[in-house]
Amino acid sequence: MRQVSEQEVLRVDGARKSFRTPESGVVTPLDGITLSIRNNEFLTLLGPSGCGKTTLLKTIAGFEELDEGEIFLEGRAMSAVPAHRRPFNTVFQNYALFPHMTVAGNVGYGLQVAGVKRAEETARVTDVLRLVGLSGLERRKPAQLSGGQQQRVALARALINRPRVLLLDESLSALDRKLRQSMQIELKNLQNTVGITFIFVTHDQEEALTMSDRIAVMDKGRILQLGTPAEIYDTPKNRFVAGFIGTSNIFSGTLAKDGGTSRVDIEGGPAIAVTADGFASGDKVDVMLRPEHFALASGRTGAGGSLDAVIENIVFVGTDLHLHGRLANGLPVVALERHARGAGALSLAPGQTVTLHYQATAPHLMKSQAA
């Protein structure tokens, strides 16, 4: 089995980059980014559109120069190394396939440039095209392919060079769900067998959670949090990260410690029982409760609390039901119920008031960003 060693492959150190825009403003897509990428790791960059993900990939690949900072590959500074000498390959957001070459020509390009023998090239092209499920399309031109097929050619073209680091910019976004899942599995297999380090950009949080060893959540040119999918999901550092991954209920309030118990008083609303290590009484905090933390039945042991909510909407999402409701003070809340128990069995209907129970260990406290 693959091992993500602690050994660092790539290090981005204090990267800063800004552009002057035609509107005569300045955008700073990289605002002091420091990031250490481990050998054989699958690292995902996640963040809203325009936060600097593509720019970060470009500077790593060498297409853009940093204003400040440095990129190290195994300790070697990269700023003086031109893009074509860096052992990285990119799958571009817009594919960037060579329109005048066939599929085989596109995929074999890197090998031809490297002077690989014709016979070996043909064999490797055949292999990698089989891998991405494009066997038989060798002689098509990019214009004769569907969007998803083009994306897979771009993937094959980058993979065939066996780069140290593969940079993927939303590289599965044009594929249908089934193909996407099989490509995800293939990428993970490749990571296991070939030992490539991946830096992956996606907008799809499910994809990020299932594929990644670690996720870096970015906003406005900064990394807000870097951690394993579980860390990001369970213990987000702030409201933005919590809101960006998964569905969450976030309430702002003031922490009140009272002997052994702690609670957060939500403005104009109920109090939420919490465990509050590392926070002081009177702190302004955000409390996060994931929908799955709520249960309609209170048959739990241990300390906890409950919230009363009026159901407004019941959304069926396959295995689960999402209950959208409102607290007495008008704040929205989302709870999740397993479908197996059934809406009918619970006889839920919009307009009904339910009590949502949670355990005291469930609420996650974050420092308020406003403070």
């Binding site: 893009a83 074509h84 960037a96 005048h100 390009y109 890197g110 073209r157 060079n161």
Partner: protein, 278 residues
């Protein structure tokens, strides 16, 4: 009522279209017919079919009648001016293609001080009246002390042909996705390989188109060439002009038809290359 108006408009459009084509092509058709007319005195009156004018043009048949001797050129001279024209057109368009393409690449890929002004200046030779450019070049060559020759014609032609090539190649480059060059570098290709394998093939239709256009323009340029050709160097258009001065003779029709055919072949080649690439 409205149907009638529509159909009368339709008829007008047809007439306009036909008139357009007639104005454009009737003179060419006429000249072709005249070039085969055996009537040496009045070409507007058909007396019979002949290849004589083509033959005398190339000296394959001595000019029979006495009045012909006065203007029939020595066939060696025709081949001489034709050779001059081809040398000028080929060298000037080849040099201009290199200069124009390089300029287009530079302005498309790099930012430098005064780029806008530079780009505007590139249009100047095209909008400047030929006669001004011709005189300016003449003054320049004389001032610098260049002896007027084929070389000065070539240099002179390059000054404005480069602009034509630049515009055509720049248009092609504007339509090219420059992440393709980035992708090529990403796959390990150095700048030279990237140019040879990615950039050049993609702008090739523009480069060939620019070359052919430059070639045709150079081949039939009269005004500018007139100023910068030395007394003893003549190109085909200047030669024809000199011939016409002494009266329009049937041989000129034959020469014109040959030129039309040649241009047609070059233009077809250009169109063929365009369609093949897209």
């Amino acid at each position: 009522m409205s149907k009638r108006r529509f159909s009368s408009g339709w008829t007008a459009l047809h007439i306009y279209g036909a008139a357009f084509l007639i104005f454009l092509y009737a003179p060419l058709a006429l000249i072709t017919v005249y070039s085969f007319n055996s009537n040496a005195l009045n070409m507007a009156v058909w007396t019979g079919f002949t290849f004589d004018w083509y033959r005398t043009l190339f000296g394959m048949q001595p000019a029979g009648a006495a009045f012909d001797a006065a203007f029939t050129e020595n066939p060696d001279r025709i081949f001489g001016v034709l050779r001059n024209s081809l040398i000028v057109a080929l060298s000037a368009s080849a040099i201009s293609t290199v200069i124009g393409t390089a300029t287009a690449l530079a302005t498309a890929r790099y930012d430098f001080v005064g780029k806008r002004i530079y780009q505007a200046l590139l249009f100047m030779p095209m909008i400047m009246p030929d006669i001004v450019l011709g005189i300016a070049l003449l003054i320049f060559f004389v001032g610098v002390g260049f002896k007027l020759s084929l070389a000065t014609i070539i240099i002179g032609h390059c000054t404005f042909l480069s602009s034509y090539v630049y515009i055509i190649v720049a248009a092609r480059l504007a339509g090219m996705d420059n992440t393709l060059e980035v992708a090529s570098a990403d796959l390990g290709a150095g700048p030279v390989t990237t140019f040879r394998r990615v950039t050049l093939p993609l702008i090739m239709p523009g480069v060939i188109g620019g070359f052919l256009l430059a070639f045709i323009i150079s081949l039939d340029d009269v005004v500018i060439t007139y100023f910068i050709a030395g007394v003893d160097t003549q190109t085909l258009p200047l030669f024809i002009l000199a011939m016409v001065r002494r009266g329009i003779r049937p041989q000129i029709n034959a020469l014109a038809v040959l030129l039309i055919m040649f241009s047609f072949v070059v233009a077809s080649a250009g169109l063929y290359f365009r369609s093949r690439r897209n």
